[in-house]
Assembly symmetry: C2
Homo-oligomer: 359 residues x 2
């Protein structure tokens, strides 16, 4: 493959700031993850919270993924209306969301995680009202404190779910967000400890007559460990498709950067820097710093909501394009209307980020 900088230099997006995906790299990343899952007989349910794009999701499913994950009710709706026939909402659903998810379950297979008996009853009532069935997963907290029951509470909640009409007990979810960005040695150690606990939990559930049909979880950082662990029947990685600075800098992941941001130099009146049209509304500051790809050896510094400095200018003048790699992909994608997907010759196709909704 040619270096990214050579390909990017051929691309002229019609607007800026613009998110550009290098198609060849995207396709290689998708194929690599699918092959790794297939080799272990583990289902891939790619996470759509990262890309919010039905077009990309349909590609993942065409390649072998069983469906998509999403994080919000709005994403689930957009994905189903965008042609995705199997979605799992991987975060607890707020009360107003259950009727909408249940209505959606008339159109597609829809799952949701649940971390309390109250949620299970909400889900059941909504499903009955809609005349639908929802896949219900017990959300197990691997120690993040964000959502999910502790492992010792999973059996009781599974029991509640199996007793409620409108719900299909689909298994357990255990998502270790706090392991994804650890350096390799610490990541492996913490993953091993958690996996031991999860394996025991699955045994306990089986002994109680609540064998989980699926054990779902995992992410881009832990995917190799998840696949080798022998306990997950399904993994949920998202960022692997296009990567970002944060995942790339871990150094051990077999995926290449495929997502870049093009910005225009809109003011060039100083020797120290030029000003481009990408600020906090185009590059989300959560995560590591945005990395400049072109011009090489320059740095990016935000200059407010709509502007950023490229310093030193590195030869970039007024009207020129500059190229960056996002520090953290998910929240930056959520700021944009579309991806421009680039062939190696620079030809572009526009993919709407159609699940970009705030609720």
């Amino acid at each position: 493959m040619q270096p990214h900088s050579d390909v990017l230099a051929r691309i002229k997006p019609p607007i800026t700031p613009a998110l550009v995906i290098r198609r060849a790299t995207l396709m290689a990343n998708l194929a690599a993850m699918q092959a790794a899952c297939d080799a272990q007989g583990v289902r891939l349910r790619a996470h759509g919270k990262m890309h919010k794009c039905s077009t990309l999701g349909r590609l993942q499913i065409a390649g072998g993924a069983v469906g998509l994950c999403c994080q919000t009710v709005g994403e689930a709706e957009a994905f189903v209306h965008g042609g995705i026939n199997d979605v799992l909402v991987t975060a607890p659903v707020p009360p107003w969301g259950w009727l909408r998810l249940a209505a959606l379950a008339r159109l597609a297979r829809v799952g949701a995680v649940i971390d309390s008996a109250v949620q299970a009853h909400h889900a059941s009532m909504a499903a009955l009202a809609a005349g639908a069935v929802l896949d219900a997963y017990v959300d197990v907290d691997p120690g993040m404190g964000r959502a999910g029951v502790p492992p010792e509470g999973a059996g009781a909640l599974a029991q509640v779910i199996t007793g409620l009409r409108g719900l299909r007990y689909a298994g357990v979810q255990a998502y270790c967000g706090h392991h994804q960005h650890l350096l390799p040695a610490e990541r492996a150690a913490k993953h091993a400890a958690w996996t031991q606990r999860l394996r025991a939990l699955v045994g306990e559930l089986r002994d109680a007559g609540l064998a989980p049909p699926q054990v779902t979880g995992g992410g881009t950082g832990t995917a190799a460990l998840d696949l080798a662990a022998g306990v997950y029947s399904e993994i949920q990685p998202g960022s692997y498709a296009v990567m970002d600075v944060e995942y790339g800098d871990l150094g051990d992941l077999p995926f290449a950067p495929a997502l870049f941001l093009a910005a225009s130099v809109v003011s060039a009146r100083h020797a120290s820097h030029v000003t481009c049209d990408a600020g906090h509304k185009a590059l989300h500051p959560n995560g590591p710093a945005q990395r400049v790809v072109l011009p090489a050896a320059s740095q990016y510094r935000p200059m407010g909501d709509e502007h950023g400095a490229i310093l030193p200018p590195g030869g970039a003048g007024e009207g020129d394009l500059v190229w960056l790699q996002p520090g953290h992909v998910d929240p930056t994608v959520a700021l944009h209307d579309a991806f421009f997907v680039a062939d190696e010759d620079g030809a572009l196709e526009r993919w709407p980020i159609d699940a970009r909704r705030s609720s």
Copy 2:
């Protein structure tokens, strides 16, 4: 007026996370700024980069504003198509933007700032191609280093503009973004120094036969100083309409908080905190911390892209609403699809954030 917490406790948005505007406070803020402008005979051109909402913009114009400012070509298009007949793009336009702005100038009065002769020529060619006229303002850099010519370069650029067909020389813009959030004493001192330079520049332009038809600039933080300075014919404040933590904490601005974010508690399994459905994708982290309004005396901590912790829970349980005030309004609004505008009795109206575009 009742305390915000009393009114918010009556509001039940149909989705979460949801941005809610207290209408009575919004209207009082709009009226206060308009009255202050009218008292000095200065035009109000409210900045739409903050709200990205034609409905709110039309209210500002109905109240007396001459038009809106915006920061991007996409915002300008959305505003004109949303019924705003006079827009000014207050940031340098990237090369691809001129033809679109010129086309828009067939539908409405459209202005843009310019900081180089190359941009002036682009603008002129685009206007000629569209058969339109663009209002062209010389962008003067008050020392931010982001965009704009130094004051001593304004005359030469004004001369270029006056010589180009398709452009109407509309004056100068001087926006002091770096003064807006200073504490009162430092703000006044820096504003006075800059105003002295700006007044001299206007005299120099007048002596050169380039008297600026408009001198536009200013923001919410400096509005009182801008109006008293006697040099601005038009000011561009945006945040005054709904305020945020950052502006409110300055302590001297005569506007009240009108914008809040409602989130649902989606997990409540810990004594230390509850988890709500608002994270980095609902509350932009740039600026000061998000402030919790309800429950009183709690704090907010982001827990990833879609979740946050409210700590301590302060009585909030699963399914309850919690209420926050955004730290920095502009980038947070850009994350949302709509405002829910609340009457005092809790009745809601939905206003689309229709200029929410990434380019």
